[in-house]
């Protein structure tokens, strides 16, 4: 059966229209689901008899935990005495919707015991540590596990079954979406819909080859500007989607933060408080070189304070054996008897001058 040209054109128009409407619907849904502006970080320090891989789930206001899960990444493990291991676990969870609950599955088999030394929840610039009481209260409502002990050292849990787990409720501050991102998301959806409607209009008007089933028709119409216009629109929309997803990872963005970017010596957000204090003392006393004593310098560049001091205080350099030394004020007594004088102190850090 031979089809006339008019019939072919009608079929192609209808096919193109249906395809673009379907794409429009899928793109809008994807925009909402794939862009994940809500992110939380959960970190735990756990002591147990052996390395325990952990799994974490997340849910919204109603704690219905779906199958998507995150393996908590184990950080450096250090062995303690009595055959115990200390492991730091961390997981970052991103979601298209606000995260109100997480579920922790800490055990792999029945009868195991774990001490939760520390549990922290956070976003990029805000975090809080769960107190032992709060952790115990949440864990005691858990499934197939029991709270053995809760004190300053942490909360000790034991597994009673094959699927032990407990839930944690997330602090409100972590679940808020920045207003600018919310407005932008609505505007982006409207922009997508409007652009797709324009694309449909172009296709219907110019009967281009999108959705065409016949090669010759496609080849003969490729020269039409409408095809390039539609492919340009599609490319721009895809790019806008990609950029928007990147922006959604920066929900903490604000104009005030950008203004801070041009303050001399910047904002030492990534620097420990001890190092910021050292900077103030260095500037006040015009110190050219310094040494780090006790906790501050133990382990050299494996020590976080030593590392951050090396970077942040530069061009003032850390050097062993120089007369200017930093030490935590609580440990100053031993150094004073060794011929050092305290020059200054601030916020628990002392600057010494030693001969």
């Amino acid at each position: 059966m031979k089809f006339s040209l008019d019939q072919k054109v009608k079929v192609h128009k209808a096919g193109a229209l249906a395809l673009v409407i379907a794409l429009m619907t899928v793109a809008t849904v994807l925009l909402v689901l794939l862009i994940k502006p809500f992110e939380i970080k959960v970190s735990m320090v756990v002591i147990g008899q052996s390395y325990q891989p952990m799994t974490i789930y997340h849910a919204g206001k109603i704690p219905e935990f779906k199958e998507d899960e995150f393996q908590m990444t184990a950080m450096a493990e250090s062995s303690l005495t009595e055959g115990l291991s200390k492991v730091e676990h961390e997981a970052k969870i991103r979601s298209a919707l606000p995260i109100h609950h997480v579920r922790i599955d800490p055990f792999t088999k029945s009868g195991e015991v774990l001490l939760f030394e520390e549990v922290k929840m956070g976003a990029i610039d805000y975090d809080y540590t769960l107190s032992a009481n709060l952790l115990m209260a949440q864990a005691s409502k858990g499934n197939q596990l029991a709270v053995i002990e809760a004190n300053e050292a942490g909360v000790k849990l034991s597994s009673l079954g094959e699927d032990p787990h407990f839930q944690l409720r997330i602090d409100k501050a972590l679940v808020q979406e920045a207003m600018w991102l919310y407005i932008f998301r609505v505007a982006a959806i409207l922009f997508f819909v409007a652009s797709m409607m324009y694309a449909v209009f172009q296709i219907v008007e110019n009967s281009t080859a999108i959705g065409a089933m016949f090669y010759e028709f496609y080849a003969s119409s490729i020269g039409r500007n409408a095809t390039r216009t539609v492919s340009s629109i599609a490319g721009f929309l895809l790019l806008a989607f990609a950029v928007y997803q990147l922006m959604a990872m920066h929900t903490w963005w604000s104009v005030e933060r950008v203004k801070q970017a041009f303050v001399a010596d910047g904002v030492g957000d990534s620097v420990p408080a001890e190092v910021k204090t050292m900077k103030e003392l260095i500037t006040k006393h015009n110190v050219q070189e310094y040494d780090l004593l006790g906790d501050l310098g133990q382990g050299k560049h494996y020590n976080v304070v030593y590392q951050r001091a090396t970077e942040y205080l530069y061009p003032v350099r850390v050097k062993e054996g120089v007369s200017n030394k930093f030490i935590k004020t609580e440990f100053i007594a031993s150094t004073l008897s060794a011929g050092c004088q305290e020059q200054d102190r601030k916020d628990g850090i002392s600057l010494l001058l030693c001969r």
Binding site: L5, S221, A234, L246, V258, A261, G268, P315
Partner: protein, 415 residues
């Protein structure tokens, strides 16, 4: 009516010129820093703005895309200080040293050797120049130099893909694959951008080398030169990627040996400007400095747990791209037309994954720790390279359809 790319073609050649000019700034800036001087970032900005206007006069979407996205990138970067390990303790610490010591080789003076002082200094030199513009150093704005490092790649992408639709698709792939790694101060995403463009340019050079007009291969080789320069001086692994990228252009160099001068000259530049001073300072890269590489490798090869971790790593971070890679490889293997042009680029991709495998097998770190701290950034080169070659394939198919379009006509339909 024959469809012609005339107006688009000229502006896209201009975008190659823009990429060269911006790269020339980076080269001149590096040379200046080696003499204790620097080039003002205002020169870079002027070239960038002028290039946008000059190259894309007839294509406002290109201008909007590149300018808007660069601005968004910079604004996102300015919203928080550099916090990630490598960015803070390696790249931007080296930049700080260059800034304060007024020397490209400041990190070779022996201070803080644990910060990988052998690592190259392209982005640190740009960050130091940016800091000189403002007259002070802080933890935040110097990181905007990653956008300066990416800018030549944006223009090169416009040259490679020509039509806006494909350029935007490639640009989207860069952002969707690399995501936050583009801006956090790590070099892996930037390296992946230049490696992927270099592979597409290698294929273009191989195709063009069959053309009797000799000028048609010089353009892609100039683009390969831009990629080689950036790869070799972004990070140590970049040199391996640069060599693999040049391998992908072997068929073109075989036909036109004079084109191999471009990567050779840039290799010499890299050795003289950076590798020689590092060697004279007695600094080795940490991966090779530790003894027992061979014994560690043999031990891990025989260890099923190591293989399990490695297979999980490569699967988890690259599985969406294996199908596309497979499709391209099957086509390249079984098509005589494709073999010459495409197969070397695909071999380069798989060779990179082999190199990664060897690095992991022989690492002196604990393997689990190394894999977990590496995350997905090391496979960006493979992932983005595969997608880029796929898009470049689409571009070639589209051009072939256009070239043959005049053969087809339908009665009553105006073409």
């Amino acid at each position: 009516m024959e469809y012609r790319y005339c107006c688009v073609d000229k502006s896209m050649n201009r975008s190659l010129l823009a990429s060269l000019l911006l790269s020339a700034y980076s080269i001149a800036n590096l040379v200046a820093w080696s003499a204790g001087l620097h080039l003002s970032v205002l020169i870079f900005l002027a070239v960038f703005i002028y290039s946008l206007v000059y190259c894309f006069k007839k294509s406002p979407l290109h201008v909007i895309s590149i300018l808007l996205i660069s601005t968004i990138f910079v604004l996102l970067i300015l919203s928080h200080p550099v916090t990630d390990w490598d960015a803070r303790s390696i790249w931007f610490f080296h930049a700080k040293q260059i800034y304060y010591e007024d020397s490209l080789f400041a990190q070779l003076f022996g201070y803080a050797r644990w910060s990988h002082t052998d690592y190259p200094v392209l982005v640190p030199s740009l960050a130091a120049s940016l800091a000189k513009l403002f007259g002070f150093w802080n933890e935040i704005f110097p990181r905007a130099s990653v956008v300066m490092a990416l800018a030549p790649g944006f223009f090169l992408g416009a040259y490679v893909f020509r039509s806006y639709g494909l350029f935007a698709a490639w640009f989207s792939a860069v952002i969707l694959i690399c995501q936050g790694w583009l801006l956090n101060g790590y070099m892996d995403a930037i390296v992946a951008v230049y490696f992927s463009l270099g592979l597409a340019l290698a294929v273009q050079a191989n195709i063009s080398s069959r053309n009797s007009e000799s000028v048609s291969t010089i353009f892609p080789f100039l683009g390969i030169g831009v990629c080689f320069f950036h790869l070799s001086l972004l990070k140590n692994e970049g040199l391996i990627l640069a060599i693999l990228m040049v391998f992908a252009a072997v068929p073109a160099m075989w036909r036109r040996p004079s084109n191999s001068l471009i990567p050779l000259v840039l290799l010499l530049f890299y050795v003289v400007l950076w590798k020689l001073p590092v060697s004279l300072a007695g600094i080795e890269t940490d991966l090779t400095a530790n003894d027992g590489i061979l014994s560690r490798g043999i031990q891990r090869v025989q260890d099923p747990t190591s293989w399990s971790m490695l297979i999980d790593y490569f699967h988890r971070n690259s599985y969406p791209f294996y199908t596309l890679f497979g499709f391209l490889t099957v086509g390249a293997v079984f098509s005589k037309k494709w073999q010459f042009n495409w197969l070397p680029a695909l071999i380069a991709l798989i060779a990179y994954m082999m190199v990664l495998l060897v690095v992991f097998l022989t690492t002196y770190h604990d393997l689990a720790w190394h894999l977990s701290t590496t995350e997905e950034r090391l496979v960006f080169a493979f992932n983005l390279g595969t997608v880029t070659l796929g898009l470049y394939f689409l571009k070639n198919v589209g051009e072939k359809i256009v070239a043959n379009a005049h053969k087809y006509s339908i009665k009553g339909v105006e073409v």
